[in-house]
């Protein structure tokens, strides 16, 4: 598991450290570095595609042009670090280091190639797709029809479990159905619980598609070792956010949800006080992103000096965050 990511002159993260657990929820205002942190994770496997000018902090780029660095620190048993460095001229260079030699480096490199960051676009989710043998819910071109079809055929029990979870999350539907719009292609529909009407994917609401996509991510048979998720609460009714949390916990804590696979490290972002409320039992999972001037920093909610006293009041965690007491809210003009 990656224990922390350190940033130097990386966009708005001029000098910041993001502490990570099995599950981490970053909460903060627009432009406070949440998406930038996820972008760094996405870049770990394709850093060559990013030039200095694309990653440098605005001040660094304008003035002395110091190096930009992103450093990942793995915990036990790997005890590795990976530092990616961009000088103002030349290509980015990765440096691996280890306290225990390099027995885990190859494994960690392979895992880095499988890191995925999802920023779900409801416009692409309902599209019919050409069938492929690949059973992965792609972050780059997420195709619900293709993934669900492969899951149904290769992991029928898991597909049934996803159907059941769908019924809990969106009680008006009870089943995913498939169509073949043309040879070798698939599209999907949801069947209504009452009347068994087929609602084609293209006619489903954006929130419904996003909720189904979240379940697709959570029910992947072999999910990536690390998943980043931009605002998984987006488009979903506040009362259904508990099920969104459950889907994410399914990834991070598989034992607790009857799964026998390796845990997935999950980093999610949010701006929703309602979603934050769902994590009030586990404040150790929350990171506050705070922007001051041109610089953003991360701090663990647990490190807030008066957290216990603040939460003893009558307000929920989300309400307290919204007041600004905990930081991570927009600056006043």
């Amino acid at each position: 598991m990656i224990e922390s990511i350190e940033f130097k002159n990386f966009k708005v993260l001029k000098d910041a450290k993001l502490s990570l657990g099995p599950f981490t929820l970053i909460v903060g205002a627009n432009g406070s570095g949440k998406s930038t942190a996820l972008q760094a994770i996405r870049m770990v496997r394709e850093f060559n595609q990013y030039s200095y000018s694309m990653v440098a902090h605005v001040e660094a780029f304008a003035e002395t042009k110091p190096a930009v660095e992103v450093g990942l620190q793995w915990g036990s048993p790997y005890n590795l670090f990976l530092k990616i460095k961009w000088e103002s001229s030349g290509i980015p260079t990765p440096t691996w280091g280890s306290e225990n030699g390099t027995p885990f480096m190859v494994k960690a490199q392979a895992e880095c190639n499988r890191f995925r960051v999802y920023a779900l676009d409801p416009r692409s989710l309902p599209q019919p797709v050409q069938l492929t043998p690949n059973l992965e819910f792609s972050a780059e071109e997420p195709s619900l029809a293709g993934f669900l079809d492969r899951l149904r055929d290769s992991e029928p029990e898991r597909f049934e479990a996803l159907n059941e979870e769908l019924g809990r999350l969106l009680p008006e539907f009870d089943r995913i159905l498939f169509e073949t719009p043309k040879a070798g292609h698939r599209s999907f529909s949801l069947r209504t619980r009452n009347g068994h009407h087929r609602i084609p994917a293209i006619d489903l609401s954006q929130g419904t598609l996003l909720a189904l996509a979240l379940l697709a991510i959570a029910y992947q048979p072999s999910p990536p070792p690390l998943i980043g998720l931009e605002e998984p609460d987006r488009g979903i009714h506040p009362r259904l956010l508990r099920q969104v949390r459950d889907a994410l916990y399914r990834l991070s804590y598989p034992d607790s949800f009857g799964e026998s696979r390796e845990p997935v490290q999950v980093i999610a972002t949010t701006q929703s006080p309602y979603f934050l409320d769902e994590f009030s039992d586990h404040p150790e999972e929350i990171v506050i992103a705070e922007k001051t001037g041109l610089e953003a920093k991360f701090s663990r909610l647990m490190d807030h000096p008066h957290l216990e006293e603040i939460l003893e009041g009558t307000s929920s965690l989300g309400e307290v965050w919204y007041t600004g007491v905990l930081g991570g809210v927009p600056a006043r003009s």
Binding site: R168, R239, R242, Q243, D246, Y249, R250, Y253, S256, F257, Y274, D277, D281, H282, E312, G313, T314, S315, S316, G318, E319
Partner: protein
């Protein structure tokens, strides 16, 4: 009797219904209204209880409303608070009772209809403590009170939940299943009197309110 429940989640609601039926000795009907959820702490209960009571009063749907609050770290309810003029403004149960009384006093009386009966319980520090009755003798209002006075609570929210659900993280479906099973255990094994023994004020006040529902309305 048609019963509405105002609770922290749909998992709580199912368990609270079983407890109410057990105390009442009869099966209540679920009212055809959206389930009310507090979710966001005691502040939101105080803000929203007016809307809930108005909906029930003018909607003619429910005969009674059960509300369960978590005390968290706030003062627990004491019998002395029930004496005239002795309500404790820091006690959530006292505070909500006063609010409900004020709101119901402002509602326009409806012909041929009694006001909605209410029962308010204060789970100390949360409903999972009630659900451990008969399983863990260390969980009760007395032990919580002693621990709180010395700033060393005997258990935490996390430890209570782990004791009930068996793990730290669980799905809503699992939570509902566990809560319902524990509430059924309390009723089926006739443990509600024991519950009142261990939680005399928070659960006791709730049970007393519910038993009063069967009393004939005062003239």
């Amino acid at each position: 009797m048609k019963l509405a429940v105002y609770s922290e989640s749909s998992a709580d609601e199912a368990a609270v219904r079983i407890l109410v039926d057990g105390i009442l000795g009869e099966k209540t009907e679920v009212v055809k209204l959206p389930n009310f959820e507090t979710k966001r702490g005691f502040g939101s209960v105080l803000t929203n209880i007016s809307a809930v009571l108005q909906e029930l009063h003018y909607g003619f749907e429910a005969d009674a409303l059960a509300v369960i609050l978590d005390s968290d770290r706030t003062p627990i309810h004491r019998k002395a608070h029930d004496e005239p003029g002795q309500a404790d403004p820091k006690c959530r149960l006292c505070c909500l009772r006063e609010t409900v009384k004020d709101i119901q006093g402002q509602l326009t009386p409806m012909p041929n209809r009694q006001p909605v009966k209410t029962a308010i319980g204060l789970a100390v520090p949360q409903i999972e403590a009630w659900l451990l009755c008969g399983k863990d003798r260390g969980v009760g209002e007395a032990s919580w009170l002693v621990g709180s006075k010395s700033r060393k609570p005997p258990y935490t929210s996390g430890s209570l939940k782990k004791a009930v659900y068996g793990k730290e993280r669980y799905s809503l479906a699992e939570e509902t299943r566990c809560m319902v099973a524990e509430a059924e255990r309390l009723v089926d094994r006739c443990l509600l009197d024991l519950e009142q023994h261990w939680f005399p004020d928070g659960f006791g006040a709730f049970a007393q309110d519910i038993r009063r529902w069967k009393e004939p309305p005062s003239a």
